[in-house]
Amino acid sequence: MIEGRTLEQDLDTFPKLLARNATKFADRPAFREKEYGIWQSWTWSEVRSEVEAMALGFLDLGMKKGDHVAIAGRNRPHFYWAMLAAQHVGAVPVPVYKDAVADEMAYVLDHCGARFAIVEDQEQVDKILEIEDRIPGLEHVVYVDRRGLRKYDHTTLHALDTIQETGRVKRDEYQPELDRCVAGLTPEDTCVMLYTSGTTGRPKGVVMSNYNMLMSAKNSCEFDNLNETDIVLAYLPLAWIGDFIFSVAQACWAGFCVGCPESEETMQHDLREIGPTYFFAPPRFFEGLLTSVMIRMEDASDFKRKLFRKYMDHAKKVGPALLDGKPVSAADKMKYQIGKALIYGPLLNTLGLTNIRVGYTAGEAIGPEIFDFYRSLGINLKQLYGQTEGCVYITQQPDGEVRIDTVGVPSPGVEVRIADNGEVFYRSPGVFQEYYNNPESTADTKDAEGWVATGDAGYFEKESGHLRIIDRAKDVGKLANGAMFAPKFVENKLKFFPDILEVVVFGNGREKCTAFINIDLTAVGNWAERNNIAYASYQELAGHPRVLDTIRDHVEEVNKSVAEDEMLSGCQIHRFLVLHKELDADDGELTRTRKVRRRIIEEKFAVLLTGLYDGSEEVFVDTEVTYEDGRKGSISATLQLRDAAVVPVSNKIAAE
């Protein structure tokens, strides 16, 4: 019997947890949302009455056990309540990406057979109405924000607060039925269904039971001692499993407070006002934040800049050691304290990270410089490795064992094994039930004993027992000369340059490696401003000869470091180009969680790829782009292709 596999019977479904919180943490804040310029808050007992009213209203609309309820909106308490209310009735909430284009949304809603859709505003309602005839199962659309919707036909369209009002009025009529629904729920019942972003092919609906979610929430809360005094900021997409784990499952389990930002654009400011104690962000976020700090320091006065450099250097030297509780000399400690008063404290405060007790990053490799920067400021930033299919947690780093190149030890209750080909497999109480209506994919991913294939290649370090991930198992390939090809390895090294936003390396089955590069408009734009380089668009800046020179320098630097790796020295980049447009999820080039879709990019930009291999100096390309509202347009450009110097690889190949 492995520890972390049993749930107390009175806490084994979400409605039971909410009922416990409404008494145990009755007057503690459960949700905060900034609206109309101030933070509105709801206690756990208020949340329960809101959720109950909603659930009663849903019953009145005819919602039944097993119905699917699509939810599309930004992080607002109403949507979290709607998910909980649907669970009370026994229905299954299906959060979907609110900025998904109509086509993607139609697929998901039709695939899960949603009878209800709960959406944010007119924009979403319009989108649903546009695809209505492709989702025959949809019966009712519910919206939160009334604005602009007054004139719409309200036979199947409802405002969420009207539903709550109906629920309150008809309480006597429906309360017994609701009680029966809640009592009938078992831990095996589905509590949520989330669609994977689909790096390959159509998204798949991952079915999660109450047991899966709550077991994962329990284990992870215990791992990091999360309790009712913690607070998080909910800003990641609702449709992503992480947001469900952090803002619903863990919040309900530990009873902590979830803060919702005023709007997506004010997130940074709201973060500062909320001051979360528990925080998750993808590496991209930390990277962006560091870039903005550095840019602002460049513009600061000489004295401030020098002070910043001096103390940041010191922080890099002793900060991580202090955080891990390793011995540090008294003089260094003293100097760190001064730095804290002058630099680190105020900086953390500006960033809104002062109160962080536990911080996680995952999803992509994080740059060593970025990781060290935050750790040296005293933020307990750790890495975890997870997947939608396993309720996020597979491995995570315990306090005091944080390293840049590993993803930690198996999380409580999780078993991990490495297959002969290097692929990582795991089995845990969080492992999903199935892909909805897709037994073949389920069988491909999960075997009869419950082991799930991650699709990632990795290995355990002998001495520490930490897991190291190299790349996607399917992306690891071979060059024409038989040398190993791991594109992520090179891409990550390049992406650590602030100038570079995205990289796609090609080389599988080919003689040499080449790369497509996206510049970071913020960083390069600022550089251009300081160097008096005028530009009118992303495209123009991306094609500027001096930008290309800088990027070439970066590529050559990376080539040197790649050459030092015995296994992967063949992955040096011989030629590259800077793309004329940013890779974008709307164009299908990235997933909604912003991972590159290699095959699609390879097909779409085939002309460019051919150019890179046939030695052309420049290539003309015309690309179709999709705007946010779904209209299409095109961008054309003539791109310069550049060579980069490579370090001669090992003697053996050179001799051939």
């Binding site: 109309y36 310029g37 604005r147 602009g148 004139k151 005023e262 709007s263 654009e265 004010t266 400011h269």
Partner: protein, 271 residues
């Protein structure tokens, strides 16, 4: 009153009795006749556009409506009663708010403060009680701030709440100006070229806001606009002016079919 019958728009809104009636207005500046014998009305709940080529007298007309200019001839009826020669602030107090063609915001003040200014006509406490900041003044300020925050939410400008408006791009400044006009809770809102100088996306946003204001608050809107596409899309009825004269009045479709209007916009061959 001449005509009190109501009419229904194609999208199902019921338009009520006239709010403002212009009767045979003539406005002269010395020897120049800016407006010549124009009559039309603006009805409760409608979006009324005034269009015309450059120098047609559209802005002068708007200035007559909000009392900045006093016409030499004709009369203005407000809710059926003849309006005497009032000062602009008195007219503002009657519930008529406006925005300006070339943005008249306080550049150094934040978005929030600019919009708060729009609440001034509703302020009942004096300077002294504001200095003492006790009781009534404080309560009033809180109420005003609440109303302003609703407008900020409505116009989706939360991000720029504390930003000095001088630093904002043009399109956003226009939006802030609309916010300030809305803060006065007008029953009649006058917009002087709300889309001037905007790109397509900004125009789409602004059109949406104008329609939403009308829908959400039931505000009657009179607007001057050059962009024919916008006018034809959002206006219920259109007055067309040329050289100070009214050459057309009716629904967008009627106006578009009017030969005089076509001539004024496309020009006619002179013999």
């Amino acid at each position: 009153m001449s005509n009190v019958e109501t009419y229904t728009t194609p999208d199902g809104r019921t338009i009520g009795a006239p709010v403002m009636e212009m009767k045979n207005i003539t406005l002269r500046f010395g020897g120049v006749v800016a407006i010549k014998d124009i009559s039309f009305d603006i009805r409760e709940g409608e979006i009324r556009a005034i269009i015309g080529p450059n120098g047609a007298g559209k802005s002068s007309m708007l200035n007559v409506i909000n009392g900045f200019y006093h016409p030499q001839e004709g009369e203005v009826l407000f809710h059926g009663k003849k309006r005497g020669p009032l000062r602009p602030y008195q007219i503002a107090a009657q519930g008529v708010a406006r925005t300006f063609q070339n943005i008249a915001l306080f550049k150094g003040m934040s978005t929030l403060d600019n919009i708060m200014c729009g609440r001034l006509t509703h302020s009942k406490t004096g300077m002294l009680s504001h200095v003492l900041w006790k009781g009534k003044a404080e309560r009033e300020e809180t109420e005003n701030r609440e109303k302003v925050e609703k407008i900020i939410d409505f116009l989706e400008i939360q991000t720029i709440r504390k930003t000095p408006v001088g630093r904002l791009p043009y399109g956003l400044q226009k939006r802030v100006e609309l916010g300030r006009a809305l803060a006065a809770e007008p029953s009649l809102l006058l917009l002087d070229e709300p889309m001037a100088g905007m790109n397509v996306e900004e125009k789409e946003d602004m059109s949406r806001f104008i329609l939403d204001v009308n829908d959400e608050f039931g505000t009657t809107i009179a607007l001057i606009e050059h962009d024919m596409g916008v006018v034809m899309d959002i206006a219920d009825r259109v007055v067309v002016m040329d050289y100070g004269k009214k050459i057309g009045d009716g629904t967008p479709a009627e106006v578009q079919a009017n030969q005089d209007v076509i001539d004024a916009y496309l020009g006619v061959a002179h013999d």
